[in-house]
Every structure is written in C-alpha cells, then in structure tokens.
Symmetry: C2
Subunit: 329 residues, 2 copies
C-alpha cells in the first residue's frame, strides 16, 4: 500500500507540512508542536518553571491547545474564559472550555460580560457604532490583565498563533504603522501596572493547532466568530496564504524574520513602553488619561438594552450567519 | 444617456481610479499624471530644470510614458535603449522605442548586448544557471550607469511605477531584508562613481501609464517579458492587487508610507552608501571587489553559443510562450 511516510519514523503520516517540506505521523506531529513551543519559550524567555500561569482561553483550538501543551510540558496553568455574549457562538465556546477544564480537573476562572458588567460585545458594537472586534479586543485585554494582577499570576499566555501574528504584522506593514510595528512582539514584559504577556504558539500555524486538538481528542469551537467574518484580518490571512501556497515557508519567514531582524531596530520607537502612566479613577488600571478605555466603554454601554448578534453583522457576515441558522447549525 | 463623469469637469470619463474614488476624462487623466510626476520630482528633489536627463527606455508603457511626460513638462531628455536579445520580444520593443524617438526627433542611444558584448540575456541565464532577471537587471544597471557617466548626464530616469515599487517592497518585506529595504528609495543620489537615479512614476500605477499611452497615441510593447512569466515579482503584484481590490488605496499607502515613515528610520543602515568602493580592473566601474559583476558576467558568458529564448523558460512560461507562438503572435 502506498502512503506518505513520517519524516521521523517512516510510519504512516497524518499531515503534510509544506514549510518543513515533510510529512509527520501523529506522535511526531505532537513532538514537533511541543518542540516549537519549547523553542519559543526559550528564545524569548517567556516562562520559568515555577511561574503561576494564566491562559486566556476562548474555547477555540489555539487556546485549548496551548493550555494542553503547557501542562504536557510540565507547567502548571490555570485558565480564564470570558463570556462575550456573542449568541450561540459564545454559548458553545464556553461549553467546550468548561468540558476541557472539568475533564482534566483544572482551575478555570470565568467572567461573563453581561452578568458582571451589564453589556455584551454585540451591544457594545451597536452603541459605539464601531466594529465589534474593537470593543471585544479591548474588553478582553483589560479583563485578562486585571484577573492576572488580582490573582497573583506571573504571566498571561495567549493562543495567538503564527497565522494570527503574521496577519496582524501584514496589516501593520501595509500601513507602515511604526508604533504598532514597534509594539508587536511575542513577549510583552510586565511594566507600568500591566502583567507580562506571552505568545508561545508564535512558531505554529492554525492548521497544526487543529491537528494537535484532533490527535489529542480535544473538542473545540470550530466556527469563526460570526462578528469577524469579512474583516480585514481574515483578508490578510488569505493574502498571506496565497503567497504561502506559491512559496512554502514565506509566512513563517515573514513573521519570524520580523521578530529577529526588525524588532530590534524598532525597539527604541516604542513610545507606549517609555513614559509613566496614570491610574484609572474608576478601577485603578494603567491609562494615559483619567479614566481607562474599558471604564469609558462600560460607562457608555453598560445597562443598554441587549442587541442580538444579527443586528450588528456586516452584509457578508449576516448572509453567512442566517444561512447557518437556517441549516439548523 | 447615463455615463460616469469626470470628477474635475463633469464630462464623460474614460477611466475610474478607485484609490482616488473618482473617474476622469482623457484631459484630466493626463493632468493627474503630470501633477503626480511633478509632486514626486518636487518632494524628492529628483530633477532640476537644466539637468541633462537620460531616460532608460525599454519600449514598454512606463518608460515611453515618463519620457513623454518629462518632455511635456518642459524638461529635455535623451533616451537609452538596450537590446537584450530576448527573441521577438526584444525586436518588437526596439521598434516601438525607435518609432517613438523618430516621430519626435529625439536623441536615442542604443546598445545591443549581442553586438557589443557578444552575449544576450537567454544565453547568460543558461550559462550561469540563474534566473534570467538576475543577469538582465545587472546588465541594464551597469550599462545605464556607464552611459550616463560617459555621456555627461546629470541623472538617469527609470520608468519604475507604483506597482513595481510596491511589489519589490513587498518581496523585501516578506523576508525583512533590512539592507535591501534601506536601499529602496525613489532617489539614489550620485555617489561613489554611480550617477544619480530617480523614479518619477513612483506615485502612478501601470494602469494609469497604459491609459496615458493610449490617450497620447503612443504604441508600446504590450506583452510581459516571456522570461519574467511565473517569477515572484508578478506573484507579489497579484497579492497586492487582491488587497487593493478589497481596500482601494492600500497599495499606494503601502509604498508611499514606507518612503515617508520607514525610509528615514532605515536610512542609517544603508551600508552600501557608506564605505569607499574600488574601481573595476577591467572597466573602471565602482565595485566592492577587484572586477565588477558585469565584467565577471561578460568574461563568463561572452562568446558562448547563443541560446534561444525557449531554452531558458520555466515550465509555466514555456507553455505560455509556445501557445503565443502557435497563435501566430
């Protein structure tokens, strides 16, 4: 019988990885993932063996995989899940997250935006008339930071993978947004009242993370967030994927060479890291003004009549969303 | 009757330019092109009114258009055409170039690689076993530089347009080739025995240049160079075009913001501009070694049995080339 062979052991392969110009069996795919995470942690001094680690968990493949990999490598790590109130998408994401933690007896903290702050992402998007990803990202960053500091954690781990980082880099590069470029790094050190934040999946793609979850039997939220459909981040991913298909390895070179060669040149330009910050008058979080962006958002949208998901989707996203609903998904 | 109107005069438009969110009639398209060239020249101090200008002319739309625009703006400029020996493609390119110059009574210098140096681009590619664009670009740069210095010209003008520059920038950015990035600028000042070189079409696209030629009645070589088909430069153009279709204006922002915001940061890293160079033992051109790259190529490939175009095409290019031949083109 004719099948592709694992580069390491010659057994039947389950995945081809063109950028490594090789195929891998299940065991050696897991080994590759572990080693890439270890390399990222070592190269960038992300974690120490005794760190108290908080993993930002969404219920998707990346955050569940990195939680699993860290445990597998001998780290101890708790999780934090934030209920964003994005309809059924959020409900299902929360279920996968709880099931993962329960099955393994892990500590999972949860925050529900609607229960605790009286808003959700669709409502925030509608009231502020901005793209949902804006209020969503800001709320998550604030709450992860706060939970890490309040809980005495040494470091926040996020599941941003190589595809995510390359797409963000591509967007910042298309505009040559020098301040954002200077800030894009797989490690943000603790500073100015912010906790240390690290991205140990920086060397692994979303396809590899999906494969990790499948091999390890981890159920995860497969759908894209309905609010993200048609956003530029996905368009940047697609453009990079078309380059990657022509020249395997281009995408990882684009991101990893940036970190190696360009970040040092831009490091001095990172203004945000330089000056002292104020403390938010409401919550004490670091801020450049009097009140932090989270408290200003909360003030503006908290207590507003809830807005359903489909009210804030763009045309393309609404079409996809309604089709999925009609299909009984 | 229903038609698109020129943004300037309201007359019938002949072209839509999504990045300007507007349509233009023939006269106001020409005005826009002239003004963008004037802006590039002024912003980057490319040319002075009394400069002796040498235009590097290929017979394509861009180089014939910039020659025409410079004359139209009151500059005096001679042309230099290099016969690269790329079969019928070169023959046709040369004919368009000579016709343009003859009709206007312009001074056109010509150099034929085969006649004067006993090689051509396909032969150089075959003998060196490198991509044809490598020997071609290097030969052109050397001969344009030499002709400018020997002829007492103040500056060499090339027809690189916004699409070209954005695609080169994209390639250098994908690899974060810091030295190449530091060198990519619309003006290279005279230094170290190299003449000043400028790119006045840096703000205009190839579509606008094609329109300029059509409106002005300039016949030009429409085909892509057969040796370039399937190269990465064209793949980068396509990737940028797909981004541009989604977000008009992205491509020009990518290149122009680089020049404005990133070039100053990288300027200090341009090693090539720093040190003193040697003189080539053969021809006296500036070089980092004893003999310049052109003389080394000439030594290696000059006098070799000529190799026909189709012998050095990649698979994709050969298929396209043979189909075109069969169709009697």
């Amino acid at each position: 019988m004719n099948f592709s062979k694992c580069r390491v052991c010659g057994e039947r392969a389950i995945i081809d990885l063109p950028r490594h110009n090789a195929n891998f069996c299940a065991d050696h795919l897991l080994q590759l993932c572990r080693r890439q995470v270890e390399k990222a942690i070592k190269d960038h001094e992300m974690l120490s063996p005794d760190d108290r680690i908080l993993v930002a968990v969404s219920g998707g493949k990346d955050s569940l995989a990195i939680w699993d990999i860290l445990l597998d490598l001998g780290y101890s790590a708790d999780g934090l899940y934030i209920g964003l109130g994005i309809g059924e998408y959020s409900d299902v994401s929360g279920e996968y997250t709880r099931a993962f933690a329960d099955e393994r007896g892990l500590t999972l903290h949860t925050i529900d935006l609607r229960d605790e702050y009286d808003y959700d992402v669709p409502t925030a998007a509608k009231v502020t008339r901005r793209v949902p990803c804006s209020a969503c990202g800001m709320s998550k960053r604030h709450l992860f930071d706060k939970a890490a500091l309040d809980g005495g954690y040494d470091v926040v781990v996020t599941g941003h993978n190589l595809d995510d980082e390359a797409a963000v880099l591509f967007g910042n590069t298309l505009r040559w947004d020098v301040e954002y470029l200077a800030r894009q790094h797989p490690v943000l050190p603790a500073r100015n009242g912010f906790p240390k934040k690290v991205k140990p999946l920086m060397r692994l793609t979303e396809r590899e993370m999906a494969a990790w979850c499948i091999v390890r039997g981890i159920d995860y939220q497969v759908d894209e967030c309905p609010m993200a459909i048609g956003n530029k981040h996905l368009a940047y991913k697609e453009a990079l994927n078309s380059i990657e298909r022509e020249s395997p390895g281009s995408k990882s070179a684009f991101y990893l060479e940036f970190v190696d060669k360009m970040s040092p040149i831009l490091a001095g330009l990172n203004q945000a890291a330089a000056g002292e910050l104020n403390r938010c008058a409401e919550c004490g979080a670091p801020t450049t003004g009097d009140t932090c962006a989270f408290c200003r958002l909360h003030e503006r949208v908290g207590g507003h009549e809830p807005v359903p998901v489909e009210m804030v989707l763009n045309k393309k996203a609404r079409k996809a969303y309604l089709a999925a609903q009609a299909a009984g998904e």
